[in-house]
């Protein structure tokens, strides 16, 4: 699992919506399809991508498979944000310095 996979998985609006739904609590595929106008195979495909990216875990319960969010799967996204949260403030200070030195 890496940053690129996590970003790719969440790039798709439907997958992001599926992920957000699961973040509200685990569901099986049938429950999960409610409210999404997509076919069972399409949902399976989305879930497979989310699982491969480490964002979603599945657990067999009787005849159903339950899907739930793996919160640690979002770590690459958090790292990305930390990186730029640290990067920009210093740059903007330098931009202010530059603006003082520039001619109109």
């Amino acid at each position: 699992m890496n940053e690129a996979e996590v970003f790719r998985a969440l790039a798709d609006p439907t997958r992001r919506a599926v992920f957000e739904r699961l973040a509200g609590g685990g569901q099986n595929a049938t429950q999960l399809r409610e409210g999404f106008a997509i076919s069972p195979p399409a949902m399976s495909q989305h879930l497979a991508v989310l699982r491969e990216a480490g964002l979603v875990a599945e657990q067999r319960v009787g005849r159903h498979v339950n899907y739930s969010v793996r919160p640690e799967g979002l770590a690459p996204l958090a790292e990305w944000m930390d990186r730029y949260r640290a990067f920009w403030p210093g740059r903007i200070e330098k931009l202010k310095d530059l603006l003082k030195e520039m001619d109109q």
């Binding site: 940053e3 690129a4 970003f7 790719r8 969440l10 790039a11 609006p13 996204l77 990305w80 944000m81 730029y84 949260r85 920009w88 403030p89 740059r91 903007i92 330098k94 931009l95 202010k96 310095d97 530059l98 603006l99 003082k100 520039m102 109109q104």
Partner: protein, 125 residues
């Protein structure tokens, strides 16, 4: 003059006042020699900028201009080596004595054109 920081789950946003007119800030954001002075060593590259992060142990960054409305809105596709594409948006609003800058760096992969819902960029692998 401090910058305020806010964030949601997929972008990093900074905003604050700059003591320069939007036109001047615009040049600082777009002219390679000036970008080099505050961001990273920059060279023109195919209608955008190539930033060289190597002196600081950072990646090379390919910045392509997605949208430019001088001197108010500049949207870059920010593609750092080893990262997914992301979007950097600079919004410049004139205020008394300068410019209000809002910088949004979004991990959101799909950038939506300002004029509608047409995705203009979907980061490729």
């Amino acid at each position: 003059m401090t910058l305020e920081v806010s964030e949601n789950d997929k972008d990093v946003m900074f905003e604050g006042a700059l003591e320069a007119a939007p036109e001047k800030v615009w040049r600082a954001l777009t002219v390679p020699e000036l970008v080099s002075a505050w961001l990273l060593p920059a060279a023109e590259n195919d209608g955008g900028l190539k930033l060289d992060g190597s002196p600081e142990g950072l990646p090379q960054v390919d910045c392509q201009v997605i949208e430019a409305d001088a001197p108010n809105l500049l949207r870059y596709r920010w593609r750092a080596e080893g990262e997914r594409g992301s979007g950097g948006t600079f919004e410049l609003t004139p205020i008394t004595g300068g410019t209000w800058l809002r910088l949004t760096h979004e991990a959101a992969i799909v950038l939506v054109a300002a004029n509608g819902n047409t995705p203009v960029m979907r980061a490729a692998a």
